[in-house]
């Protein structure tokens, strides 16, 4: 392990403005639905109006005759997708099971399942004609009510196969050991279905450039994964599928799965032999894509009277669809967050007649943290202990789940920074006793953690004749500022000003990189970028021959189109000469970067704490978050401006999770009644208080050479329970089912 971070005296850590900021504030940034292609036509989807059963007949005649309509495609007349016939799994399954095969057969698996696509010359004509498609069904009895079907919960397939799977039943010490504790509590917690609802609607333009050559402008978080999936579906070589996602208008996990509408557009484009644009409606964003699953949890927790944990049992059941086993790490952090001799975890999934969920920011950890961190607060109250003190008494300096040391863990520093900034000393131990006029004042905290899961990635670096270095990697930027921080990392790795470095992403033709998800982009792709910069210097060094032979590649200084040495400015060479040496080609490299065996030796996690002050109106039950402090141990902070912004966003997401968000199904029809942003309440400006962000900003050089860990998930994990705990402190009312709406408080 290196003692020093890789970069000193460079731009890493600076509050640099985003490299794509100008494009975003002028409307020039192009999102998936915004590409102009000759002959482009519009698609509009028709969804089923039953949740389970079969299509008996589908009458498309009127739609076909409507003005401007080019095609109406259903399971009756659809081109057969070659990969559908024998596919049981995509190449890189986000879930186990059989993803919905759109227009493949007459089966209906959820309400508003796409059953037809109308293609017309204008959007208005496609949408109008879609309303003319008439369908008759044979409906089966559907099951969409979670509580009514709890008996159908099952062990996920992969956990059955592999007892070491993180989803498998797990016991440390005594099973349900908490029951032996002198002070013990048992509680149930519920989070409703939550919708990602990124501001950009799911959009795709599908364009068959040749019968075996497909280009899609698609709103995805994985351009390479999407490329592989569509290549397999259509039985064409991977390089024949080009996936473009240069700008992604928010995703939060929603783009980690390929959804039926994408293939619907691709089928339509092949049918009419023209590029087809398909944009989901906001209502379809509730039904045709994934969401955070409704999850029931039970915690049993016990401690000694002096506040030492004796045991925690954490059970969780999350909903999934009938055709895919969606799983997430809901009970993981219970195994590693606190020192406790006895831990039992049980994780189940409950298949219902709804579409498949997908990871939503913080995913299972955020769900699990609501239960665990609420339970810690409840037990602290029962023990008459300050909840931060209770957590400190059970702090652990090694990972209790596997006995390994942490790569780094600065959670205590987070506690201190946060407690000071929120004014934790003003918190009253007795709930309901801090009043300001009609308002009750409360303070709460919640801890979050997420694995620093560096993966493998490739990056390319090319030095242009004008001295600019262009880096490429097939990652995406859904908003965190990936392009900006990669420029900062490359600038420092090359010793060049950031203005002379460019980073390109969101194109499947670029060197391979994983999806943007799981807070792993900077540690994964950043490592590849840094490696590519080193490889570029190595190649320049070799081409320079004897001029630089007394020095090392890292000593090369690039100034404009001149190369020299850091410690010997007289040794110099013009880049133009190196290009000549390189057979007239600009110098370019592609490098792969992989994690080593550090995972065998260390446990690697980011940590966060959210502190909040809430005011609850005594008469109306209105909850106002007055102040939030978000503290994170996320390793090296490459850009405090963009990283701070991510923390703000997670905190705002936590406010939504805690106070406003919940999708509701009318079980009579198995269909969501919350179907737009007036029914489903995401936080608005007026909901967001002053939020302070504090980073420990100490490198973790075990995770990667830059010392980064990850931010996106820990920005939200722990935020919702912090608010729920503050509401309890304010009112004495413990709300265990989110969201905490006023009706639950009055």
């Amino acid at each position: 392990m290196n003692e020093q971070p890789l970069f000193k005296d460079g731009v890493v850590g600076d509050r640099m403005n985003r490299v794509d900021g100008r494009l975003k504030v002028t409307g020039a940034a192009q999102y998936s639905a915004e590409y102009q292609l000759p002959g482009l036509v519009h698609g509009f989807l028709v969804g089923s109006t039953i949740a389970k059963g079969r299509i008996k007949s589908i009458d498309t005649k009127a739609a076909e005759r409507a003005p401007g309509v080019l095609a109406v495609i259903t399971h009756v007349n659809s081109i057969k997708v070659p990969g559908f016939a024998n596919r049981s799994q995509p190449d890189e399954p986000p879930t186990a099971g059989q993803p919905l095969r759109v227009f493949h057969d007459e089966k209906i698996l959820f309400n508003d399942q796409p059953i037809a696509i109308v293609v017309a010359d204008t959007l208005e004509r496609a949408r109008y004609a879609a309303g003319l498609v008439k369908t008759q069904y044979e409906a089966d009895q559907h099951a969409t009510n979670f509580n009514a079907h709890m008996d159908r919960a099952k062990v996920p397939a992969q956990a059955k196969k592999n007892p070491k799977s993180p989803q498998a039943d797990h016991d440390r010490g005594q099973v349900d050991g908490y029951k032996t504790a002198p002070v013990k509590l048992e509680m149930e917690y519920v989070i409703p279905t939550e919708m990602h609802n990124p501001m950009e609607l799911q959009s795709i333009i599908a364009h068959w450039e040749a019968p075996d050559k497909l280009t899609v402008y698609d709103k995805v978080q994985a351009v390479k994964g999407t490329q592989r999936a569509f290549a397999k579906d259509w039985g064409i070589p991977e390089q024949n599928v080009k996936v473009i996602a240069t700008f992604v208008g928010g995703a939060f996990g929603n783009g980690l799965h390929n959804w039926p509408h994408e293939t619907a557009a691709i089928i339509a484009a092949k049918t009419v032999n023209r590029p087809v644009k398909l944009v989901l409606t906001r209502e379809q964003m509730f039904t045709m894509v994934g969401y955070r699953p409704y999850t029931w949890q039970r915690i049993g927790i016990g401690a000694t009277p002096d506040g030492k944990l004796v045991g925690i049992t954490h059970e969780a059941t999350g909903q999934t669809s009938t055709y895919e086993d969606f799983t997430e790490s809901t009970v993981q952090q219970t195994r590693m967050m606190y020192q406790s001799p006895n831990i039992s975890t049980r994780y189940r999934i409950l298949p219902l007649d709804i579409s498949t969920p997908i990871w939503m920011r913080g995913p299972g950890e955020a769900t699990g943290a609501f239960a665990l961190e609420s339970a810690m607060d409840e037990l602290a109250h029962a023990l008459n202990l300050d909840p931060m003190e209770f957590r400190l008494r059970n702090y652990t300096d090694t990972d209790p789940d596997n006995g390994k040391p942490w790569s780094t863990k600065y959670l205590k520093e987070c506690y201190q920074m946060g407690a000071e900034r929120i004014g934790w000393k003003n918190r009253q131990m007795q709930p309901g006793t801090n009043k300001q006029g009609d308002w009750l004042v409360g303070y709460g905290m919640g801890v979050g953690t997420f694995g620093a899961n560096r993966g493998s990635a490739k990056a390319g670096a090319r030095m242009l004749a004008n001295g600019t270095v262009v880096l490429q990697s097939a990652t995406t930027d859904i908003g965190p500022g990936t392009g900006t921080v990669m420029v900062q990392l490359a600038a420092d790795a090359l010793g060049m000003p950031p203005e002379k470095v460019r980073f390109e992403l969101g194109n499947s033709l670029f060197p391979d990189a994983p999806s943007q998800g799981g807070s792993a982009t900077v540690n994964t792709v950043g490592s590849a970028v840094v490696a590519a910069c080193a490889a570029l210097k190595e190649k320049l060094y070799q081409l320079a021959g004897s001029t630089f032979s007394a020095a090392k590649p890292a000593d090369i200084v690039i100034k404009g189109t001149q190369l020299s040495l850091a410690n010997n400015a007289s040794a110099k060479v013009a880049y133009a000469d190196l290009i000549k040496q390189n057979n007239g080609q600009e110098v370019a490299v592609v490098t792969e970067s992989k994690p080593g065996n550090e995972r065998q030796k260390y446990s690697m996690y980011s940590f966060s704490v959210h502190f909040v002050e809430v005011h609850v109106h005594q008469l109306t039950g209105e909850v106002r978050v007055k102040k939030m402090v978000a503290c994170a141990d996320a390793g090296t902070i490459v850009n405090h401006k963009t990283a701070g912004n991510q923390m703000l966003g997670g905190a705002v997401g936590g406010i939504g999770m805690a106070l406003t968000e919940g999708a509701m199904i009318d079980d009579r029809f198995g269909r969501y009644v919350t179907k737009d942003l007036a029914d489903y309440h995401v936080p608005v400006h007026a909901d967001a208080p002053a939020i302070e962000v504090a980073f420990v900003d100490k490198p973790d050089l075990i995770v990667d050479p830059m010392g980064t860990k990850g931010i996106g998930e820990i920005a939200i994990i722990g935020a919702a329970p912090a608010i729920a705990n503050a509401v309890f402190n304010a009112t004495g009312k413990r709300i265990r089912e989110l969201p905490i709406t006023p009706d639950k408080l009055i």
Binding site: V25, F247, A686
Partner: protein
């Protein structure tokens, strides 16, 4: 032969609106004149001329200025200002987030006033001046609000940003930016799912206190 005349085409009863529209058009003006000559009628049906001839009647003339550029257009009455901008004029800086006026991503200025362009029919904007995000900067010089959004990082994914900026400019113009609380209230029609709200408020406050003309 009789079967192929336009009027004897079997109509789907479920296709009421469409049928009525066509029947009406066929019984009027040009098509009525054509109907007196059996030959052309047959040809018209085969080539779907009724469709082609009907088109001009379905569209409405529209003159408007967008970002200082004059347009003379012919649009269907059901086309929203948002879809006109994005799909026909290819000004995609104005964003579609909900189509219900709930998210604010489509905010533009019409004669200087903020409007949710998804709730405004294009044909109702005849003679008006539209300003979109593409028209806010003066050449290469960004509008002070655009500069402030970059400086304060008032966005992440950037999708709601054009709408936020158009509303932010209106917020100051309408005198509703005197305090953080007032700004938050005024701006609550513009959703940012990335949650960059505090930075957006900071950007607006800086422009407001900077006293530059917006």
């Amino acid at each position: 032969m009789a079967d192929s005349t336009p009027d004897s085409k079997p109509e789907n009863p479920e296709c009421g609106h469409n049928a009525t529209r066509r029947q009406f058009l066929k019984q009027s003006s040009v098509l009525t004149a054509l109907a007196f000559t059996p030959g052309p009628v047959v040809q018209a049906a085969a080539a779907e001329w009724d469709e082609k001839i009907a088109a001009p009647f379905e569209k409405v003339g529209l003159k408007l200025a967008v970002n200082g550029k004059n347009y003379k257009l012919s649009v269907e009455p059901r086309v929203t200002l948002l879809d006109l901008l994005r799909e026909q004029l290819h000004l995609t800086g104005t964003k579609k987030g909900c189509d219900y006026g709930q998210c604010g991503a489509c905010t533009v200025h019409v004669d200087g006033k903020r409007v949710n362009s998804c709730l405004a029919l294009a044909v109702m904007q005849d003679g008006r001046e539209i300003t979109t995000i593409e028209g806010l900067a003066k050449g290469d010089d960004l509008h002070p609000m655009q500069e402030a959004f970059i400086k304060h990082d008032g966005f992440q994914c950037g999708y709601c940003t054009p709408g936020q900026i158009m509303s932010a400019v209106a917020c100051i113009r309408e005198g509703k930016a005197d305090s953080e609380g007032e700004i938050r209230e005024f701006m609550s029609g513009n959703i940012c799912r990335c949650g960059a709200y505090p930075n957006i408020v900071a950007a607006i406050q800086e422009v407001k206190t900077g006293g530059q003309k917006v």
